[in-house]
């Protein structure tokens, strides 16, 4: 049986099931609460699965396996960074966020500050983080489907755009949650199965897997040593900061904590996400190492120069065909595309809610918009987001997806995270401090990315970068914190003084966590 037909069959089945769930979700009632936060009725376990489905993208499954295949042990810096990022979200963010907001990231940040400026700032923060990430996903999906199914890139982007619009317009957060849960189950199941097949090829002898990986790799015994991917400590620390703190700055991930009924459920969902993330990173590492010797010397998967056909990102796909045959290859291909749809659905809701709730209902209509009116604006925002996503997918065809993802992660860590953390824990934060901190973080991130190696050298063709690292977090994060704290302490406006004084005398309330 042709693997393309299998992949198409599984993908069509996935689409039909998820569309059925979407229609079912729409019949459960169309309220604002349901659209933004699934009515707050998602269980802790379900939300944990959905968080994993929202977070673990194709970049993780395909990209990190490829990174292990090429650079070996350095991949662990990525895997540990995101897992620790989720742990920090659990310890510091999840509970207060759940208590402070109902639907959006902006509500949590503006809890005790002036709603107008903070809503505008937070909405801009959501858009500047989510749009580059959305472009990265849609460009990746087009390229992936073009390679796997043999259909045109533009058609693939249109299919993804139409599906994401249907899912979110009809089913809102309920549908997105179900899609993310199903996708997480499929991804984890297929990852465990492929890891089992890989270990089975070495008779479940990890020592043999390691020895044969070293023997089959150009790096030899340096494969398991650090420093193959990162040559500069500053670059490694900058990436580590972005990975571990950027998660808390992604609005589409943090919004998931509004979908559960209590802080207990929020904690449980974060713990489940941590467990899934950690296990998945180990699976990816084993698959990447095993693929080195299993794919070495194969005429089917390597070109005449000995390079992997389709690049290192295709390691998982090639290995699934090698070990599992056409059916498993088709299954993995369909799962990879489903993965992108699930992430994109979450991002679309984050963008739509920032536009309809923060900008329209809270800022333009100053809280006077009816639920029907706000819901209509939300759905219109989803349609516009879908159309813009498809157009951006066309425009950015062939662009480096990693650069776009780096932009999003760095901006999330430097713009949203400092403001969110200070809004929760620092009573002297003022409205202007929050706005200036986020603004400085954004300006520093964009400047460092433009002056860095990815844009300044590889895109604009200059000889050497002005800012040495691809990830600007090492510069932008301290700058954002310094600006937020400095402006808050020096804010001379009457509102600033009132916010400082009012908060200074506050009774410090615990988030309910143990002492």
């Amino acid at each position: 049986m042709s693997s393309t037909y299998v992949a198409a069959g599984i993908f069509i089945l996935f689409t039909l099931i998820t569309l059925g769930i979407t229609i079912y979700a729409s019949r459960r009632g169309a309220s604002i609460s349901s659209f933004y936060a699934a009515g707050g009725h998602v269980s802790g376990v379900g939300n944990g699965l959905a968080i994993a489905g929202d977070f673990i993208s194709a970049a993780t499954f395909l990209g990190l396996t490829g990174l292990t295949f090429v650079f070996g042990a350095d991949m662990l810096i990525f895997g540990i960074g995101t897992t620790i990022g989720w742990a920090l979200v659990l310890f510091l963010i999840a509970e207060p966020l759940r208590s402070m907001g109902r639907y959006t990231f902006a509500e949590a940040v503006s809890h005790r500050l002036s709603k107008g400026p903070i809503s505008i700032f937070a909405a801009i923060g959501v858009l500047v983080v989510s749009i580059p990430y959305l472009i990265a996903q849609i460009v990746g999906s087009g390229a992936l489907v073009e390679t796997l199914f043999g259909i045109d890139y533009r058609l693939a982007v249109v299919v993804a755009g139409v599906l994401l619009t249907l899912y979110v317009v009809i089913g809102g957060m309920v549908a997105a949650t179900w899609i993310q849960m199903i996708k997480a189950g499929l991804l984890i199941g297929s990852g465990i199965f492929l890891c089992g097949l890989t270990l089975g090829a070495f008779d479940f002898d990890i020592s043999r897997l390691i020895e044969e990986a070293e023997a089959g790799h150009a790096l030899g015994d340096r494969l398991l040593s650090p420093g193959n991917y990162f040559s500069d400590p500053g670059a490694a620390f900058s990436l580590g900061l972005a990975l571990s703190l950027g998660l808390a700055g992604f609005p589409h991930l943090m919004m998931r904590f509004f979908t559960v009924e209590s802080v207990k459920a929020a904690r449980l969902s974060a713990v489940i996400a941590i467990g899934i993330n950690a296990v998945f990173m180990l699976i990816v590492f084993i698959i990447g190492l095993g693929a080195i010797s299993l794919l070495a010397g194969s005429d089917t998967f390597l070109d005449t120069d000995g390079r992997l056909i389709g690049g290192p990102n295709m390691v998982v796909v090639h290995l699934s065909e090698h070990l599992g045959g056409a059916v498993f290859y088709g299954f993995i291909s369909a799962v990879a595309f489903a993965t992108i749809l699930a992430v994109v659905a979450g991002l679309t809701i984050a963008i739509a809610s920032a536009v309809s709730h923060d900008l329209y209902a809270q800022t333009i209509r100053k809280g006077r918009a009816s639920e029907v009116e706000e819901l209509a604006v939300s759905r219109a925002a989803v349609v516009v987001t879908g159309v813009v996503t498809v157009l951006l997918g066309f425009l950015f065809e062939g662009q480096n997806v990693a650069v776009l993802a780096a932009v999003a992660t760095s901006i999330a860590a430097a713009v949203n995270f400092p403001v969110l953390l200070l809004a929760i824990y620092w009573p002297r934060l003022t409205t202007w401090g929050a706005v200036c901190g986020g603004g400085v973080g954004l300006a520093a991130s964009v400047a460092a990315i433009v002056l860095g190696p990815d844009v300044w050298v590889r895109t604009l063709g200059h000889a050497a970068p002005i800012f040495p690292y691809s990830y600007p977090t090492l510069l932008a994060l301290p700058a954002a914190f310094a600006a937020a704290i400095g402006v808050s302490l020096l804010d001379p406006t009457p509102r600033g003084r009132m916010e400082r004084q009012g908060s200074t005398g506050a009774i410090m309330a615990d988030a309910g966590a143990p002492k």
Partner: protein, 84 residues
């Protein structure tokens, strides 16, 4: 506009676990970058893996243990609060 009760502070447990994990990650990166000879050393007793891999897997495991510990202790604290 200002709701004082919105301001929270991290509990000792969450602050300690955050510092522990973030610190361990920073030390891991520092060792990988500044002491590659230590992190490249092979450990035949653990499948012949390098220290970088063993320490990385250990950190992932510690992350899971710390989060489960936090969950259990938080739940106990919730129950005690409810009884009071």
């Amino acid at each position: 506009m200002i709701s004082d009760h919105a301001i929270t502070r991290p509990s000792r447990l969450s602050a300690a676990l955050s510092i522990l994990l973030a610190g361990a990650y920073a030390v891991y990166i520092a060792l990988c970058m500044f002491s590659p000879h230590i992190m490249s050393a092979r450990n035949e007793a653990v499948f012949g893996a390098s220290t970088a891999i063993i320490a990385g897997v250990a950190l992932l495991t510690i992350c899971i243990i710390a989060s489960v510990l936090y969950l259990v202790l938080s739940r106990r604290n919730d129950d005690q609060g409810a009884r009071r």
